[in-house]
Every structure is written in C-alpha cells, then in structure tokens.
C-alpha cells in the first residue's frame, strides 16, 4: 500500500512546548497529544484487548499473583525451614512486631532520607552536566560518554570501590589530606544522626513511644547518596540532553537579543521547560532507590548502629538468613506500599488526567 500523500514537516517532533510569551517563539508544530486523542475515534475494545491480553495475563500472575502470595505469607506463621501458610492470629501480629523493631524503624528512616537526598543530588547533577554538555563546543560526544559510563557498571562492584573511597583511613581522606584538610570526615563509619526529632514525634503520635531510633539524618548515608548519584546522574543527564536537544535554537537567540546571559538563560527559560522531565526522572530514580540493595550491601552494609541499613537488606536477611519468612514478607509489603504511595499519584496525574 502506497501512502504517498503523507509527509511530515520539519519540527514535528519538538519535545518541549515553547512558551508563548517569548518573541519569535514558534508554535510547536505537529499535533500535541490532546488534540490527537480527540481526533482518533474510540474504537471497540476487542482487538486492543486481544493484543494486550498476553501481557496482562503474564503480569497478572507475575506481579499481582505474587503480591497476593507475599501478603498471605506476611500474615502467616512461617518461620524456619518448613513452609506453612497457616494464618497467625491475631491478624497482623507480624506487622505490629515489625513496626516495633528498632532496626526496621531505622531502615524506614534511612530509605526515605536516602531517596530524598539522592533525588536532589542526581537530578541536580544530571541537569548541570546536561546544560554544560549541551552547550560545549569541544568534545561533546566524549564528555557525554564519560558521564554516562558509570550507569553501565554493576552496583555490586562499584559498591566495593566506593567503600574503599569512603573508608576514613584511605580513599577520599587521603586526597583531602593532601589538600590540607587533615582529620577528614568519618564517612560511612560515622554513627552520628543529625537533627533527631524522635522525641517530638513521640509526644505527638499517640502511643508513639514505640520509636526506638533517632529520627534524623544519619551522616553515614551521605557517602551512599554520593555513590548512587555518581552512578545515575549520567542517566538523568541523557534524558535532559534529549529534552535540550529539541529546544528550539531560536529561543536562545531571542534571549540573547533581550540581553540575557548564559546563566540567566538557563535559569529563566531552560530549567522551567525541563520541569516535566525532571518529575519523570524523579519517579524512575525514586523507585530505584526505594528498592536499593546491591549498592548499599556491597558498600556499607548495615553501617554502625544501622545507620545505612535499608529495607532491601532487611528483607533479604530476614528471609534467607534468619528464615523468618513472614517477617521478610511483611517488610516487603511495607516496601511495596511505600513505593506505590510515591509513584501512583504521579502516574495517575500523567495518564488518567491527561485523557481529559
């Protein structure tokens, strides 16, 4: 079938919509999704569902089926080698015990703080790298490859290297020493928790005296944040580069005609345009950090006083070392709920609301 009448005009694939306010900014050509959807007839669902059915079936088993199984185990009595799915009464005993476990409380604190700090650093670093790489006139491809390379490495190994770097007597402190900073930080051996609000929360939350750990920022988690950001900033950078590449160069010219310098141009025009992409990257990175296991395990393990312990490690050890299957399952359910709580609102806004 020859479709000779169809052509596409250039510029049809503009990524970011140009702000209407700027002088000379062309309107994005090519139909934005909203208009397109209304143009497409809503077809009968039969053929679509047929196509989607295999994926749906497989995911139904491998995701929803297994989640259901895990919930069942988390409510059971299963501890030890012999499996049992017998429900433990009163219902939810394991979850209650879990909430009162000091280590798990520390894990929850750690994973939340780790995720927040990691998102900030990785996205910021990715943005800065992208802005620089995009605007450089020399060796653009080389720099791009260099910054993207860490993403290719396995966490298990980079964890070991970063452990060496952040051990106080070697690594980073040796370099700081040469720069004149003796007595460098204690990095991953630092048990200090800064900004403890557990006592305040204890007063506010009814029955809150089950909190047994300091709820603040464990300093030892900062090196782990640095390591994780190093590995994933390149991924963020590549996404930003793509968005930047589809920015209309006329924007730049218009801005400099208006007298805006490089810095102002980036801050006032580019960064706001990149906001949707930042949110998308944030969601993907958040789900990586909430599940993290390999990097933390190889790098710092639990850390002094569980300063760097994360739920991923907890689940692994409870399930496969302690053979407390129900505790491991309960912790997994909590992990999953946490991730869903972070991600679902964003997805809901993106997909369901977009349709309207």
């Amino acid at each position: 079938m020859r479709l000779t009448r169809i052509t596409r005009t250039g510029g049809g694939l503009t990524q970011a919509p140009a702000p209407a306010g700027l002088p000379g900014a062309p309107v994005a050509e090519g139909a934005p999704p909203k208009r397109a959807r209304r143009q497409l007839p809503f077809r009968r669902s039969r053929s679509q569902l047929l196509v989607l059915a295999p994926s749906f079936l497989l995911l139904g088993i491998f995701v929803y089926g297994f989640i259901a199984y895990t919930i069942r185990v988390s409510l059971s009595k299963w501890q030890g080698v012999a499996p049992t799915l017998q429900i433990e009464h009163p219902l939810g005993t394991t979850f209650k015990a879990l909430a009162q476990t000091a280590r798990f409380q520390a894990d929850m604190r750690n994973v939340v703080i780790f995720t927040v700090l990691f998102l900030l650093l990785a996205i910021l670093a990715g943005l800065v790298l992208a802005l620089l790489v995009h605007d450089t006139l020399i060796a653009r491809g080389l720099f791009r490859s260099v910054f993207l390379f860490p993403y290719a490495l396995s966490f298990i190994v980079t964890g070991v290297v970063w452990r060496w770097i952040f051990t106080p007597s070697t690594g980073a402190n040796l370099i700081l020493d040469k720069l004149g900073i003796h007595h460098g930080p204690k990095w991953i051996t630092d048990p200090t928790v800064v900004g403890d609000v557990s006592k305040q929360l204890d007063a506010i939350i009814p029955g809150g005296h089950f909190i047994q750990v300091k709820l603040g920022i464990p300093l030892a988690i900062i090196p782990v944040v640095i390591a994780a950001s190093w590995q994933l900033a390149g991924f963020a950078m590549a996404n930003f580069l793509a968005a930047l590449s589809s920015l209309d160069p006329q924007l730049r010219e218009a801005a400099s005609l208006d007298g805006a310098g490089w810095w102002q141009y980036q801050r006032r025009i580019v960064v706001p345009l990149l906001w949707p992409m930042m949110v998308a990257i944030g969601v993907i990175l958040a789900h990586v950090s909430l599940k993290s296991f390999d990097l933390v395990y190889a790098m710092s393990g639990q850390g002094p006083g569980f300063a760097t312990d994360v739920p991923g490690i907890f689940v692994f050890e409870q399930t496969f070392r302690a053979l407390r299957w129900n505790t491991g399952a309960a912790a997994s359910v909590v992990m999953f709920v946490l991730i869903a709580a972070v991600v679902l609102p964003y997805l809901y806004r993106r997909t369901v609301k977009e349709a309207r």
Binding site: A31, P33, R43, D135, V157
Partner: protein, 293 residues
C-alpha cells in the same frame, strides 16, 4: 531539518549540529574547564577499578587504591576470564533475546495505548505499570514455584521469560510516550486510505520506531546484563548462570583476590560500555523523539 516520509523511516531525525562557526570565547573555555574537572571526578572510581585489575594481589586493596600499578600484570584479567568466560556467553544468550522480545511487546502495547485508546485504557495502563515497582526479593519463592509448574525452572528460557515479563511495563511506557508524540494524522490518513490496524502498525509505525527500539534496547540491556538476583534464583546450575553471578562468586565468603575481582568487573562491564559508546549518539537522538517525556 529533513522531512520524514511515512513510508521511509530509515532516516533518523537529525539534530541541528553546533559546530564552532565562531572563534572560541572565554565562556566556552570555562564550560570545557568545568566539564574536564567533573570528568576527572567521575572517572576517579573507575581508575581505582581498572588499576586494581592490573595490580598484583598484594597491592590490590584499599590501602593502595590510588597508586599506579607496580607492574602491569595481566594475572588479574587472566584469572577473571578463566572464571567468567563461560558465563559471558550465557549473559549474551539471555540478554539479547530478552531485550528483543520485550522491546517488541512494548512496541505493540505502546502503540495500542497511544493510538488505539479505548474506554478504561488508562486504568489498564496504570495497572500494567505497577509491575515496574515490585521489589524483587519479595517474589522469589512464588516465582520459582510457578516456573517449576510450567517446567521452565533452571533453564535459560525461563530466565529470559522472567526478564521479558518484568521488562514489559517499562518498555510499554517508553513506547507509549514515544508514539504519543508521533502525530496521529498519520494514523488517520492511513486508515482513511483503507489500511487495517495491523497494516498501519507494520507499515507506518514500525519504520518510525527505530529510535524507540534503541532507547528500549539500551535500558533493557543494561538492566538485564547487570541483573543478579534473577540469574541466581532461576538458574541454580552455575554453568548456565549469567556473568554477574560468576563475578559475585569471585568474591568468596572468606578470602578475596581483589585484582581478579576488579578485573572481572571491568570485563563484565565491557559489553555494556560498547553498547553505550556505539549507540550513545542514537540514544540521545532517540530520546529527542519523545521516548521518555
């Protein structure tokens, strides 16, 4: 900007190329200077890894990590290849089919969600996406039991199946976003011409999908190649395990030869690095076409 004819998808979108058409200014040198400094910081841990691979065992540890190798020995690499070589092929046999199949499924699914929406399709899409967010430790035991039921436990096909299934959500997401930016007039016009859905997909969408496939390919290849937990659980036979498992076994519980482990890590990362360098340029261009909005 080149024009894309719908029937001829072989030309990728070409970026406007910034060539130094003017003499370098101070600002440009500042940018390069900043980049160079950042590059040194980023490369430092990689230097540690690679140099450790070349060092003799006594020198390959934390205390000597910044030093240059005393002697450029290949003992580490040789030992690593002996241990990892057989599994290298396994990883290829697992990664390539898994990437190809999951990308194709993602393309088809993405097309349905982007161009053939039906009532409730957004909820269905959301439900499919949830699969992306499941922590993998959770599902190990039921997954193994299920694979045994369907007689695929312990096989490479079983491992490929698992990677494909857990890759479907993200590949669907990538292609859905990508296809959403392709103007629907193309689909309209084609159907006005009398083309059926399958023909539209094959003749209109697929040729335009190359950037999407490359993005998917890179994402999936990285994730699957570096996977450890599925490889170790689904395939207990060490002869069939992927390279990440063999690498992990190099660092035994009780004594570790770090030069071999680090050399092994370098070897294990090479294929992904090659994929990145070769496809790096396409990768960026692929995202231009809206693969991840």
């Amino acid at each position: 900007m080149s024009t894309l004819a719908a029937t001829r998808g072989r030309r990728l979108v070409r970026l406007p190329r910034l060539r130094p058409s003017r003499p370098l200014r101070k600002g440009d040198l500042a940018i390069v200077g900043a980049l160079a400094l950042l590059a040194v910081l980023v490369l430092a841990p990689i230097y540690v890894m690679v140099s450790a691979g070349f060092k003799p065992p006594a020198q390959a540890d934390a205390r000597h990590m910044w030093e240059l190798p005393q002697s450029l020995g290949l003992g580490g690499f040789r030992g690593a290849w002996d241990a990892l070589g057989p599994n290298f092929v396994n990883s290829l046999m697992i990664a390539i089919p898994a990437v190809v199949i999951s990308s194709m499924i993602g393309a088809v699914n993405g097309y349905v969600f982007a161009k053939m929406p039906f009532r409730g399709s957004n909820v269905v899409f959301l439900a499919m996406l949830l699969g992306m967010f499941i922590p993998y430790q959770v599902i190990l035991v039921p997954m193994v039991r299920f694979l045994q039921e369907i007689q695929l436990y312990g096989t490479i096909q079983g491992l490929i199946l698992v990677h494909v299934i857990y890759g479907i959500p993200i590949t669907t997401l990538i292609f859905r976003n990508y296809y959403a930016t392709i103007p629907s007039e193309l689909v309209q016009a084609a159907s006005v011409d009398g083309a059926g859905q399958r023909q539209i997909f094959r003749h209109v969408m697929l040729p335009l999908s190359i950037p999407g496939f490359i993005v998917c390919g890179i994402f999936q290849f990285t994730n699957i190649w570096n996977d450890f937990i599925f490889g170790i659980t689904v395939v207990p036979d060490s002869a069939k395990q992927p390279i990440t498992v063999a690498l992990n076994n190099l660092s035994g519980n009780f004594s570790v030869d770090w030069n071999v482990v680090m050399a092994g890590a370098v070897l294990a990362a090479l294929p992904t690095a090659v994929v990145y360098i070769l496809l790096g340029r396409f990768y960026v261009r692929g995202l231009v076409a809206g693969a991840l909005k």
